[in-house]
């Protein structure tokens, strides 16, 4: 692991883009922004291996916004596609059939539907085989491309098209967000990190750091989703910032299983400040406040930070 970084300030972000403007993602999409920044750090020699999702339709024949390689596989098996490409490059280079200069960084890119749900089996296989690849999950906490249905990444209290708010179901989604970070860590993935577009320097350094590790690397990027979460496209970065400041989206990394929070808020902003920015949580505030649900969410965030602080030796002031 490096102790030095080429990223001192945000101004060190590489100017060169490998994702050109004019793609078909929604205005204010946090997912495509994460892909763009990720690509800047990795450089041009990348094979993106995609699972079904919003990114899939940005690659609409005969156009491509990428200056790098792309392969759409299927919903469930992008990590297996990464396996095939990585193995083929390795064996062809070893046999002298391919010049080492043609080597590629293999990156799976998918939303949370593929990463948390349908693709988890193929992901587990790739981790277990210690496949040398990156997994970039742009996490908007629902199936966005099909119109925002619940995934196992959807947090408690969010309304989605398949967890609608009704008189009998006033909370929306009652499931808890799956902890994909811990799933990967428990399988001995050498590098696991969370990202937020609002915290660019942290983002750049984590991609840089992971790139020095051979083996499976997961990046879960918070992907503010104006159309699904329900906010003005120009508010995306603010929403991400609030997700971090309220502690809902911890910025952290795991290096060889050791977890380290890369941003420790002195005191957490109350979660309601974050929840209020999005239509998917509107029912928690109107017509009446769902006090119990709001308390449940706050308590779960506060408990997370107290436990993390106890493990890592920091203290975070949580809201009353």
């Amino acid at each position: 692991m490096t102790t030095t970084t080429r990223f001192r300030t945000l101004k060190d972000m590489p100017a060169q883009d490998y994702l050109t403007p004019g793609n078909t993602m929604c205005a204010g999409c946090g997912g495509i922004l994460a892909v763009r920044v990720f690509h800047k750090v990795l450089g041009p020699n990348v094979a993106w291996i995609n699972a079904a999702g919003c990114m899939t339709i940005t690659m609409s024949y005969p156009l491509s916004p990428l200056r790098s390689n792309w392969l759409y596989t299927a919903f469930a098996s992008a990590p297996a596609g990464a396996q095939g490409v990585r193995d083929a490059l390795d064996v062809l280079i070893r046999k002298g059939k391919l010049s080492p200069s043609e080597d590629l960084k293999v990156v799976v890119v998918s939303g949370d539907g593929a990463a948390y749900d349908i693709g988890l089996q193929s992901t587990s296989g790739a981790i277990d085989r210690h496949l040398d690849f990156y997994y970039l999950c742009y996490d908007n906490e629902a199936y966005g491309n099909t119109g925002f249905q619940m995934s196992t990444s959807t947090p408690y209290g969010a309304a989605t098209k398949t967890t609608p708010v009704t008189a009998a179901y006033p909370i929306g989604n009652t499931g808890r967000k799956k902890d994909l970070f811990e799933v990967w860590r428990s399988m001995k993935a050498p590098y696991v990190a969370t990202l937020a577009n609002s915290h660019g320097l942290d983002f750049l350094r984590k991609v840089e750091k992971g790139a020095e590790t051979k083996g499976p690397k997961l990046y879960i990027a918070f992907a503010a989703c104006p159309t699904g979460m329900g906010f003005d496209p120009k508010e995306g970065i603010e929403v991400e910032k609030l997700a971090v400041q309220t502690g809902v989206w911890p910025l952290k990394e795991s290096v060889d299983g050791v977890v380290h929070h890369t941003l420790i808020p002195r005191s957490l902003t109350p979660v309601r400040e974050y929840l209020k920015t999005q239509e998917r949580f509107e029912h928690l505030f109107v017509p009446t406040e769902k006090r119990e649900a709001l308390d449940t969410i706050q308590a779960s965030v506060s408990r997370y930070w107290k436990e993390a602080g106890a493990r890592e030796g920091f203290d975070v002031k949580v809201p009353e």
Binding site: S64, G81, K97, L104, S122
Partner: protein
């Protein structure tokens, strides 16, 4: 473990009784074909009755006698994804599966063919659950009939090895660029040792030059593969292209087979006739049970009946013209389907019938026969009964009612099992 290369000058045994080749199971014959093809990559996943193929290859790779990368995936769906993706990165890829595994991978079969990734997949046929069973019929491989994979079906272990090599040659031909399935029957071939003469490596190398991918994923010239298409016109364009390529594979196969015969002395056509010259009653079959069909033809000939057999070797593209040419002028044909489409009947039957509909001098009737499901044994009497039915139809001019083969003793055994399960036997 068999030797890879037989001594020079070996010829296939012509029935003289001398063992010339090696005694190999169908599974080891398949693995041998892959090794002779110098495949770069073998993604694998175990399933009965295919497992011996990947075990054999794993041994060879680990002992250093096969220069490939072998990786065990966590499912057939992933295995097929890895296979296609590796092919797009420029590797020659081999893999194998059976039955449930083929169905589990089915989504990716359509992707791999759409990617125009010319991999070779060996399917060791096993009937499909439920109920779960181990022995073969062809509902598994025929579920892939519309997937865009070429299909070649084997009657013998020798054919398995040869067809693997032919499949690569056809699949990778620039006029085709489609993946291929080589099929063999579980148990009847997979675990049965037969004499197999493996071609020598030097000859294989001249028959099958290294794979030269057209637009692989690479740093110096990035490409986008599997891109979405948003409208029907462009989707149709690509699909029609695949269809045209699959149809071209018929001719490409014949060219390749001619070269193969020159080099190794074994001739393969898309179909194969047996005692067809003057045959009036012709049974159409595929895969290992064809050997039982041949015995029935012999028996009928002994009785003075002009019986013959037509074996389907190439199943995709469907060799309609060959079928039509060889069935034209016969009195009655029968199609033996070792598969069942519930509510329709056999799967090959309508394909054979469609091949003949516009043909002058077509047989007066085509008898549908379903049998051998789940590997159900066939007695010579059951097979000859098909010819007897064909004769009766030829005499009376009646519309043939489908035959579903099941003997009285088997039915009694089945009923006995049911009565035990339901407790009625107590």
């Amino acid at each position: 473990m068999p030797d890879r290369v037989p001594p020079e000058g070996d010829q296939p045994d012509q029935g003289g009784g001398t063992v010339i080749g090696k005694l190999l199971t169908g599974n080891v014959a398949a693995a041998s074909g892959a090794r002779l093809a110098r495949v770069d990559y073998v993604p694998a996943y175990p399933i009965t009755p295919q497992t011996e193929i990947i075990e054999t290859i794993a041994d060879w790779v680990r002992e250093g006698s096969m220069d490939s990368k072998f990786v065990q995936l966590e499912s057939e769906h992933s295995m097929m994804t890895a296979a296609g993706a590796a092919s797009l990165a420029g590797a020659r890829v081999f893999t194998a599966t059976s039955s449930q595994g083929l169905l589990y991978a089915m989504e990716m079969l359509y992707n791999v063919s759409g990617w125009r990734a010319p991999i070779v997949l060996v399917n060791v046929s096993r009937a499909l659950a439920a109920p779960i069973v181990l022995e073969p019929d062809h509902n598994d491989v025929l579920a892939a009939r519309d997937s865009g994979f070429l299909q070649f079906h084997s009657e013998t272990c020798q054919e398995v090895a040869d067809l693997v090599l032919l499949a690569y040659r056809v699949a990778e031909d620039s006029r085709v660029m489609l993946p291929a399935i080589v099929n063999l029957d579980g148990f009847y071939l997979s675990f049965t040792r037969e004499q197999v003469v493996l071609p020598e490596q030097e000859g294989v190398d001249s028959f099958l030059p290294p794979y030269n991918p057209v637009h692989p994923l690479k740093a110096s010239k990035p490409v986008a593969k599997g891109s979405a298409v948003m409208e029907g016109y462009i989707y149709s364009y690509f699909r029609y292209n695949m269809h045209a390529a699959a149809l071209r594979a018929r001719k490409v196969f014949s060219e390749a087979a001619k070269d193969y015969e020159k080099l190794f002395g074994r001739a393969y056509g898309p179909v194969e006739g047996y005692m067809l010259d003057d045959a009036e009653y012709v049974l159409v079959m595929s895969n290992s049970f064809t050997s039982i069909g041949r015995q029935a033809v012999k028996k009928m000939r002994e009785r003075g009946v002009a019986a013959g057999l037509l074996k389907l070797r190439m199943v995709r593209p469907f060799p309609s013209e060959d079928v039509a040419a060889l069935l034209r002028g016969r009195k009655v044909a029968a199609v033996f389907d070792q598969n069942l489409a519930p509510g329709a009947g056999g799967i090959f039957y309508p394909e054979v019938a469609a091949s003949l509909y516009h043909v002058k001098g077509r047989p007066s009737a085509i008898l549908p026969v379903v049998g051998g499901l789940g590997g159900k044994q066939l007695t010579p009497k059951e097979m000859t009964s098909i010819f007897e039915r064909m004769q009766a139809i030829g005499r009376d001019g009646q519309t043939p009612a489908p035959m579903y083969l099941m003997r009285d003793d088997e039915l009694a055994k089945a009923k006995r099992a049911v009565s035990i399960a339901t407790g009625e036997s107590r």
